[in-house]
């Protein structure tokens, strides 16, 4: 059982280039999330999804777009990468608890992105 898989694990981009990070989960979870983590910082929510075909903005959505065309996949896109987007990106998924939002999050291993 793979859990949550992120690809790629590492990527180096030049300013202005675009790329997509893929998150795939095999636990049939409804909720999926993208976070970024900068050195010495906590986890900041970029975008999230509560089901197939739905997405919503988190706390730091600017410069990112997401799509969830299939329940098991959640894609994070950078249309025009900037050095400020250098970070470690974590995807997570969760099943919902009726009336109480998300339950425990299961994380992918992370994707380290460097923008030069």
């Amino acid at each position: 059982n793979a859990g949550v898989t992120q690809t790629p694990k590492f990527r180096v981009l030049k300013t202005g280039q675009s790329m997509t990070l893929l998150c795939a989960q095999d636990m049939n979870h409804e909720y999926m999330y993208w976070y970024r983590q900068d050195p010495g910082m906590g986890l900041r929510l970029i975008h999230y999804s509560v089901g197939e075909g739905t997405t919503a903005k988190g706390e730091v959505p600017d410069g990112y777009n997401v799509s969830r065309l299939k329940k098991q996949n959640f894609l994070l896109g950078l249309e025009s990468a900037a050095p400020s987007q250098t970070s470690v990106y974590f995807c997570a998924s969760s099943y919902s608890v009726s009336g109480a939002g998300a339950n425990v999050l299961t994380f992918g291993a992370g994707s380290r992105l460097t923008v030069l």
């Binding site: 976070y35 706390e59 425990v104």
Partner: protein, 110 residues
């Protein structure tokens, strides 16, 4: 909106105890605690529900006071393996956003 954790960092000797606090400006219905080792993803430790229930995990326990909008994590007789960064996590009331606290770096020395 991000829950604030205190202390920001703590250094312990093996066998010593520590308390990590998580305070929110918004109502908390449940709180989860996670530990992240250096270079790894966060891993779930325990869940705290309304009603002040305490949950235990080995020598790690926690409490939740929904009136004070606070949760505390208690690490007793710390071991080297406890080193890492601890985060509280919660769903923002009235939304489906799941956010994390500011984090507490814990280092246990031999």
């Amino acid at each position: 909106q991000q829950p604030v954790q205190s202390p920001q960092a703590v250094i312990l000797r093996e066998g010593e105890d520590a308390v990590i606090n998580c305070s929110s400006s918004k109502a908390l219905y449940s709180v989860h605690w996670y530990r992240q080792k250096h270079g790894e993803a966060p891993v779930f430790l325990m869940i705290l529900l309304k009603g002040g229930e305490q949950k235990g995990h080995d020598k790690i326990s926690a409490s939740f006071n929904e009136k004070k909008q606070q949760s505390s994590l208690y690490l007793t007789a710390s071991q080297l393996s406890y080193s890492g960064t601890y985060f509280c996590g919660t769903t923002v009331a009235g939304t489906y956003k799941y956010i994390f606290g500011t984090g507490t770096r814990l280092k246990v020395l031999a």
